[in-house]
């Protein structure tokens, strides 16, 4: 049952081939058996899952269930879940029981999904390898000595290992797409404003966006439909109709104009990764897509721009963690300043403190213009490059990540090397554009097969096109169906 996609589970539930309770018990059993080795979950919500499943079975029996009624899901532990521990993988929130549901959680719940648990992640979503979690690193099911990517690494590992058919994630600089690439999944980051940020613990508010990690584009479309839409509780939510993404998957590849981002096929890209991506491009071309090179000359500024903008926003957002109303508090504070400094010093991990300090510095008097204002101007250049490209092509294509999954610990002592993992994914966040990563092959590293992803980025609210191109590609390839050994 665990090998079924969401669409297949939905059909099976509808046809009474199995109940949601059977499905849920089966997956909970896998999570118990296989979850700890991967460290994919912070909290497994078994009781809640069984209650959800029973309620779903009743709804389905009465015939008033929807396509997702009874389908099990997992949420990244960045989403607030009413009455359930919500840690953001930080010591700071290791005792925080959310008093309400995030909009994404509420919407999936209203659709009848079953909550299996909350997945591990980089602390406050700050990381590209899932090694900054207070709860320890997540391991990649394709090779447990390697990282699953981050920050949505627990969601990626859980879906790749068939512990959950689909999971939510968030993407501030690549945190859905990069782990999707490293674990052979389809990872969609929607347009900024497409999915509500309400109840999603903030990292960098002008970049954060919720999305999904799925085993197919079809599944991603199904769950995006259930999570997208206007929310008055998010001041940057956009009030524009949600298309029937699943109905638009049939759009043909014929005539599709694809731009290859010249700047992202150069130095630093692993040649074996490039070969996989080039083969996928050749296939799309054979199927009628028109491919050309496009130059976005400001894109090499993406990573340094991001590492000014994101820390600046993080330093403001994380000032709420003061040890007063919620979160970690130090022992025996001698005065208010001591309370703040020690609660924050003890509650945050090293990477989070580093980013708060970077942000504090670039926003401080005398440096604001040189760093923050300058980065905002570079951000405008990057957005302008994309706008020009979308005058010529429908989508732009590149690798998702310059290499396949790397070894645990390989980059933890060098922040810049870690930051450069997201070299191809960050630009879409700066411009607020939707992006998707889909499996496109495997590389062999010392006898281990590791998955490779390619990334498509489209214009604002162009999710339908990204999903249909991905779906059409997946109808013609088998890469996305491969499961890691021991988890099939």
């Amino acid at each position: 049952m665990h090998t079924l996609t969401v669409s297949e589970m939905s059909a099976g539930l509808r046809a009474r081939k199995f109940s949601s309770l059977e499905l849920t018990l089966h997956l909970l059993g896998r999570i118990e058996r296989l979850g700890p080795g991967l460290n994919a979950f912070v909290t497994v919500t078994a009781d809640r899952a069984l209650a959800d499943a029973r309620a779903a079975d009743e709804r389905n029996a009465k015939g008033d269930g929807g396509p997702l009624t009874g389908v099990p899901v997992a949420h990244k532990d960045i989403f607030c879940t009413d009455g359930i521990l919500t840690t953001c993988a930080s010591k700071m929130l290791s005792n925080f029981v959310a008093p309400y549901d995030a909009t994404v959680v509420r919407k999936w719940r209203d659709a009848g999904t079953v909550l299996l648990g909350k997945t591990n992640m980089d602390e406050f979503a700050m990381g590209s390898s899932n090694e900054t979690s207070f709860y320890g690193p997540v391991r990649n099911p394709w090779d447990q000595t390697r990282v699953p990517g981050g920050s949505s690494g627990g969601s990626a590992a859980a879906v790749a290992a068939r512990l959950a058919p689909i999971a939510s994630g968030t993407d501030t600089g690549g945190s859905i797409r990069q782990p999707a690439a490293l674990t052979n999944l389809t990872g969609l980051k929607p347009t900024y404003g497409r999915v509500s940020r309400y109840g999603m613990i903030a990292f960098a508010s002008s970049l954060d966006q919720a999305g999904v990690l799925a085993r197919s584009a079809e599944d991603a479309a199904l769950l995006l439909e259930a999570m997208a839409g206007f929310d008055p509780r998010d001041s940057t939510s956009v009030d524009t109709p949600v298309p029937r993404y699943t109905a638009e998957l049939k759009q043909p590849l014929q005539g599709l104009r694809i731009g290859l981002i010249k700047e992202f096929f150069g130095e630093g890209l692993d040649p074996a990764v490039e070969r996989c991506v080039r083969e996928a491009i050749a296939l799309l071309q054979r199927e009628g897509a028109v491919v050309k090179d496009v130059s976005l000359p400001s894109l090499p500024l993406s990573v340094p721009t991001y590492y000014v903008v994101a820390p600046a926003e993080c330093s403001s957002n994380l000032s709420r963690f003061d040890g007063v109303r919620f979160g970690h508090r130090c022992e025996q504070p001698k005065d208010l300043l001591d309370l703040y400094r020690r609660s924050r010093g003890e509650g945050f991990g090293e990477e989070v403190k580093r980013r708060i300090m970077t942000g504090t510095y670039v926003l401080s008097a005398g440096y604001y213009d040189a760093y923050y204002l300058k980065a905002q101007k570079c951000r405008a250049l990057i957005a302008g490059d994309f706008a020009r490209a979308f005058g010529e092509v429908d989508v732009v294509l590149s690798p998702t990540s310059p290499t396949a999954a790397f070894k645990l610990g390989a980059k933890t002592s060098d922040p810049i090397a870690m930051y450069l993992n997201d070299i191809y994914s960050i630009a879409a966040n700066l411009a607020g554009l939707p992006g998707i990563s889909i499996p496109c092959g495997f590389v062999n590293e010392a006898g281990t097969e590791l998955p490779v992803g390619l990334q498509l980025v489209g214009p604002h609210f162009g999710e339908s096109r990204l999903l249909s191109v991905s779906h059409q590609y997946q109808l013609r390839t088998e890469w996305h169906k491969r499961a890691p050994k021991g988890y099939a």
Partner: protein, 96 residues
């Protein structure tokens, strides 16, 4: 090293973060590397460029009617507080 120990101590003070003696050299080193890295933005030509604070420039802040939409849930919220009494959040003495 683009940042001095003195500067990093100042940043930590502003950010209300305690950094231990033992950790301080690591922060000086890594923060310096990050600042050196983002320094490359200085070379970008941005003379006539409008700064971009938000990805959806056309988006305007919405207003809502001035009506009560939230109910009192103090007890629920205080459940997560480290120290409360009689509905108040307790902190160390602020005024002598």
């Amino acid at each position: 090293m683009s940042l001095t120990r003195n500067q990093v101590e100042g940043i930590a003070r502003l950010a209300r973060l305690e950094i231990t003696e033992a950790q301080m050299p690591v922060y000086v080193d890594r923060l310096s590397r990050i600042i050196d890295f983002v320094e490359q933005l200085a070379a970008a030509e941005t003379a006539d460029v409008e700064p971009m604070a938000h990805p959806l420039a056309q988006q305007v802040q919405r207003l809502r009617p001035d009506e009560v939409t939230e109910t009192d849930q103090r007890d629920k919220y205080q459940h997560n507080a480290p120290s409360v009494a009689a509905g108040l959040y307790l902190v160390p003495k602020v005024i002598e």
